[in-house]
Amino acid sequence: MTLRDQLRSKRLIVFLGTGGVGKTTIAAASALEASRTRRTLVLTIDPAKRLADSMGVKLGSEIVNVKPNLDALMLDTKAALDALVRRYANDSHTVQRIFQSRFYEQLSDAFAGSEEFVAMGTLHDLLAYGGYETIIVDTPPSRHAIEFLRVNRKLIRVYESGVVRYLFKPTRFLRLGGGYMAQVLARWTSSEYVNELAEFMTTFDQMFQDMETRVRTMDTVLADPSRTALNIVAAPEEESVPQTTRLYDEVTRTLALPVESCIVNRYYPKLPHGGITERDASALARHVHKPQQDVEQFLREANVATRFYDLIAADHEKHALRLRANLAGVEFLVVPALPGSVHDLAGLENVREALFG
């Protein structure tokens, strides 16, 4: 389904892509388009505050109204996780234990997927209770993006495996696999570490139990093509091709989810032949009423710039073609590069125009 049609019919539109391809801009421009007909929220889970920048609106962890029919949320996953812990932990003692743990302090290192876990919980609540017809999600850069889609399954599995009990409270049958591992850990690491890890896992395990329903719901929503559409944003650049292809393969093969469209952003279209019509310096100087030496410098620079532009344009064409070949059957949208960076609503409006005409 084309991106334009998705914006009119899907509840959840997700943009995936590697870092630095302008995913946030594309998500925001799509949100502008969607908000013309539907009540729309654009959610970014990218830790860089790029959405806030491109919206020209300072955002925090609160939902901000950008214009009529359009809200934006730049999710502060750390604050949202604090809130979740408070909500799901059994008692205030548990809350304190978690907050004081060194694992919590460096949670994104310590517990892979924690940001995605929080994002997924937030997204669930926004879909269920936010009152939006369309939610557009700008995911973190690619490997994280795949984590975002996979986090539900992973968490369900961790929870089902009963990791904590298995590792640290071995039963008679699991003594070899579980108890032994805890012993090995205790031998090679400091004992405070093992105790802290066990405690942290125990309290988080309780949170997982409570989160399970939401997590399972989101898994169903993401895998339901009548409600959700996934799109990939790519740069027409060398590194982007293998990274984007791998992302596409992971999503379509490993997760077996469909990808609807690929947006090739900041594309340098090939120049028509010709360029400047008057190449003779003195003739051009007379035409434009400028000093001859300025015109000569201009012509020299025009030659250099044209050569470099052609170089980039040729590369872009080649990489875009490779992307097209690798992501067969997906809608391709090409957004030409615009001079200057997009840093306000007017700039976003130009991107929207380029995307949707």
């Binding site: 870092g19 630095g20 290192d109 850069p141 090995v184 690491t189 120049l271 434009v288």
Partner: protein, 328 residues
Amino acid sequence: MGAALTGRGVAAHARLSIILGKGGVGRTTIACAFAVDRAVAGERVLLVSIVMDEDPTARIQHEAAGVDTGGRLQLLSIDTRDLVDDIVRRVTRMGTMADFIIRSPSYESLVDIVPGVHEMALFHELEKRTRGEFDRIVLDAPATGHGLHFLAAPEKTSRILAGPLKDRAERLRSWLQDPATTDVVIVTLAEEMPVRETIELASTLRRQGFPLDNIVVNRWLPRVFVDEGPHAVLDAVSKHRLADPSWVTAMRLVSAQHSEAESHLAELRALDAKLAIVPLIPDSSHRLLKVAEAMKDFVPNGGSGDLAPRSRRPEDGSGGAEPRREGL
């Protein structure tokens, strides 16, 4: 030169050059160019990449086609997960029982939850390989994650480990922080986000004691239509419709990109690091050598800043094939 490579009694060990950079800045290109150049210069080089990131083999075949590295360049792709599994097998000393652990879902969760375990396994492996047949190991560092998190892993893990593993982590940390053994290079583009991240990374790395003084600014564009004169002519050409409008837009794109790059370059200069500016070079069979040429006054080697290929030095009768032995 020899002193830089062999310095401080580590003559038998390979230097480690860590090439950091976010996805999309051309980190792999720079790592490949550096590795090829060093091999051409006579060093025996191991270029290490991480499985899941780009495999440099095809790139070197295409972009350094016909370049004679004298068989001195080897490529190695590492899956850190395999390394972790191997270490677990050895540490637990459980034989086939270890496979039972490794295949269990709890194991995966456990490996994910211990901070820095993948990085530690990688550094452990690289450090072992410095005592092999190489003069230099070039690491095309993982694209994901913050470069700092990557390099700080031994320090972080040493805080939670005990016994011999703790000692090992501490030794790895000193190895990574010693300018006599390790170079850290950040590759960036002169664009807003990459530069902001580079500045942050560079200052944190320095604060934590890493030898950082090398930054490569990749894909540099020429300075055009910046001066008042040519700028005004472009405006006039556009106004009088003396050129195709799409051509004028193209010129403004290149000009804007350069001007933005200039301002970001100024920010990078304030870091007081060795900067190499690599122009945008088209994809061709000679690209890697051209990239290396652009970095020639810069190369990280802990001292002399000399990238001039040794084999081209007339006085070097051996063709510089055995630089590691120069200090012996």
